[in-house]
């Protein structure tokens, strides 16, 4: 085996090990990782969809329940992808077992990729659970499966990277919760999960278009229902751009040792 093949093998086994470890963590603490989103989504469907939704009537040409279902799935994917990486990486920093990876021959980009795949796994697992819950309340419709898969995977990667960067800078558990509470939740609620931005006044529509979550939710909704408040192509460009920029930032922070090396 030549030197490069040997390095590739080390990288592949190392990457797989991080992914297996992250999967093991998600399953080991399933009560914290998988169940809460299913409960929350059920409550949203019952209260917003079934009780209030009946009075709202149609939105975008679909029943309100059917209209908000993709948004609720995407909301759980965003929250869980972010939460998985921020808690896992910060936990590893706090418990110092991140050193197991830092002393290993794995390059930093591979460590970032391993954690991101962990976030992607949890995002998709929770997304699947919430999709199953949504089938109880809303009639299933699939307009464009490729757009559904592309949007959910890219969104999950974006927020996994966001969680990673948050964890790199976080010095305590409070700082792990700041971004989800004060940034992520407001952006998600104003990101067209529960309504079409066409209902808003012009200035609010313009402002909403600066929110990347609006583009992600609408691209995902387009995959199911074939309707969107934004250009789907533009939404994918934004998502891919964010993935590239955040990945580069995460690797740069790791290379500099920000928050992890003295």
């Amino acid at each position: 085996m030549n030197a490069q093949a040997s390095i590739n093998q080390i990288w592949w086994i190392g990457f797989r090990t991080i992914v297996i470890r992250e999967y093991g963590r998600i399953i080991r603490i399933w009560g914290q990782t998988l169940v809460p989103s299913a409960v929350t989504a059920t409550l949203y469907f019952v209260i917003f969809g079934s009780l209030i939704g009946r009075r709202v009537g149609e939105m975008g040409g679909f029943g309100y329940m059917q209209y908000i279902a993709p948004g609720l799935i995407m909301m759980s994917v965003i929250t869980n992808s972010y939460a998985n990486v921020v808690s896992s990486f910060f936990g590893a920093k706090f418990g110092k077992h991140i050193e197991e990876l830092l002393v290993s021959p794995l390059p930093n980009w591979l460590i970032v990729a391993g954690y991101v795949v962990g976030g992607l796994m949890r995002g998709l697992m929770v997304g699947a659970v919430v999709t199953i819950v949504s089938l109880i309340f809303a009639r299933p419709a699939v307009h464009h499966p490729g757009v559904i898969v592309g949007a959910v995977v890219l969104t999950s990667i974006v927020f996994s990277l966001g969680g990673f960067i948050n964890a790199v800078f976080a010095k305590n558990f409070d700082q792990v919760n700041w971004i989800p509470t004060f940034v992520l939740t407001p952006l998600t609620y104003f990101g067209g999960v529960f309504y079409s931005v066409s209902l808003l006044p012009q200035w609010a529509q313009t402002l909403s278009h600066l929110n990347p979550i609006l583009h992600m939710v609408n691209a995902f909704r387009y995959g199911f229902l074939g309707v969107s408040d934004v250009s789907v192509v533009q939404a994918f460009i934004i998502m891919i751009g964010l993935v590239v920029a955040l990945f580069a930032l995460a690797v740069t922070l790791m290379n500099k040792g920000v928050g992890i090396r003295d």
């Binding site: 086994i13 090990t17 418990g95 050193e99 197991e100 002393v103 290993s104 021959p105 794995l106 090396r261």
Partner: protein
């Protein structure tokens, strides 16, 4: 080939503390090497830089010829580290911890499981392989860190106070194990506050103080260079004051105990001859401190004073 070669290594922390002020150090392949120094001397910083957990401010370091700046990943593949602080996931089991660690070094899972069984058995942890790591005793946790560091069978094993807080029985087990893997070819660098441990295990030694290497030599040579030793003598009869014997410094510790300082050129026989003449009977005798401790204290004290 040198297992570790360090030149002009410097580290200044953000708070201005200069932990290393230009360290030069060589550790030969196959050596069992002691790196000693008082708390805050720079030992852990030096180890941190070599294992890439600390960013250096200046200087160079190579591990088996691999430069840490240019061939970091190859250098890291050669090193196994047992840090001072416990740094494994307390919620995972020992088997998971060590098999995963092997994976981070590219060891296939089947081979990792074989090695895990071998080393966990050797260090008497196999029975606990599926218990949560947090449930292990202090000594078991220390041994688990040694097993974890060995999973990729490194050429250089760095142990930062591996036996801190471990009882004597477990410490002896660890010593035997470390001697065994050293004989099999693993180079070992050991930092410890138990100087008896360093004297028993190590062939070469460096003493670091205030961020500089103040001595680096073979253990034998260093101990041979010890100019004076202090012995504690237990006496049968009580003494009101220390006797005066020409050429020797005697100090009365209590009614039945004397301390005598003997230089390299002097013979203990001369002391005993004088004691016999004075009718003083010595029941037993021991070194006041272990020999390495004596060297260590003198070197560190001298440097502190200058």
């Amino acid at each position: 080939m040198q297992a570790l070669s360090v030149r002009g290594l410097r580290k200044t922390y953000d708070n201005g503390v200069e932990a290393l002020k230009g360290v030069d150090l060589d550790v030969a392949q196959g050596d069992f090497f002691a790196l000693l120094g008082p708390n805050g001397a720079g030992k852990t910083t030096l180890i941190g830089i070599v294992t890439s957990l600390v960013n250096k401010t200046g200087g160079t370091a190579t591990v088996f010829g691999y430069d840490l700046d240019r061939e970091l990943e190859r250098a890291k593949s050669c090193i196994g580290i047992v840090p001072q602080e416990l740094n494994f996931n307390q919620f995972e089991t020992p088997l998971t911890i060590v098999v995963n660690q092997a994976g981070f070094y590219g060891i296939p899972r089947d081979l990792a499981r074989e090695r895990a069984e071998k080393y966990l058995k050797q260090l008497q942890l196999w029975e606990k392989r599926n218990s949560p790591a947090r449930a292990l005793s202090g000594g078991m946790k220390r041994r688990l860190m040694i097993v974890r560091a060995l999973m990729h069978e490194p050429r250089l094993l760095v142990l930062d106070e591996p036996t801190a807080g471990v009882d004597i029985e477990v410490r002896r087990l660890m010593w035997e194990f470390l001697q065994q893997i050293n004989v099999q070819g693993t180079t070992i660098i050991l930092t410890t506050h138990y100087l008896e441990e360093a004297e028993t295990l190590c062939r070469n030694i460096a003493i670091i103080n205030n961020g500089l290497i103040v001595e680096s030599d073979s253990m034998d040579k260093l101990l041979r260079g010890l100019h004076t030793e202090t012995f504690v003598l237990d006496l049968r009869q009580s003494l009101a004051e220390a006797p005066i014997i020409a050429g020797f410094k005697l100090v009365r510790v209590d009614d039945h105990t004397l301390e005598v300082e003997v230089s390299k050129e002097q013979s203990l026989n001369a002391v005993f001859t004088q004691f016999s003449a004075l009718g003083i009977e010595v029941l037993s005798m021991r070194n006041k401190v272990n020999r390495l401790e004596e060297v260590f204290m003198r070197l560190v004290d001298n440097r502190s004073h200058t």
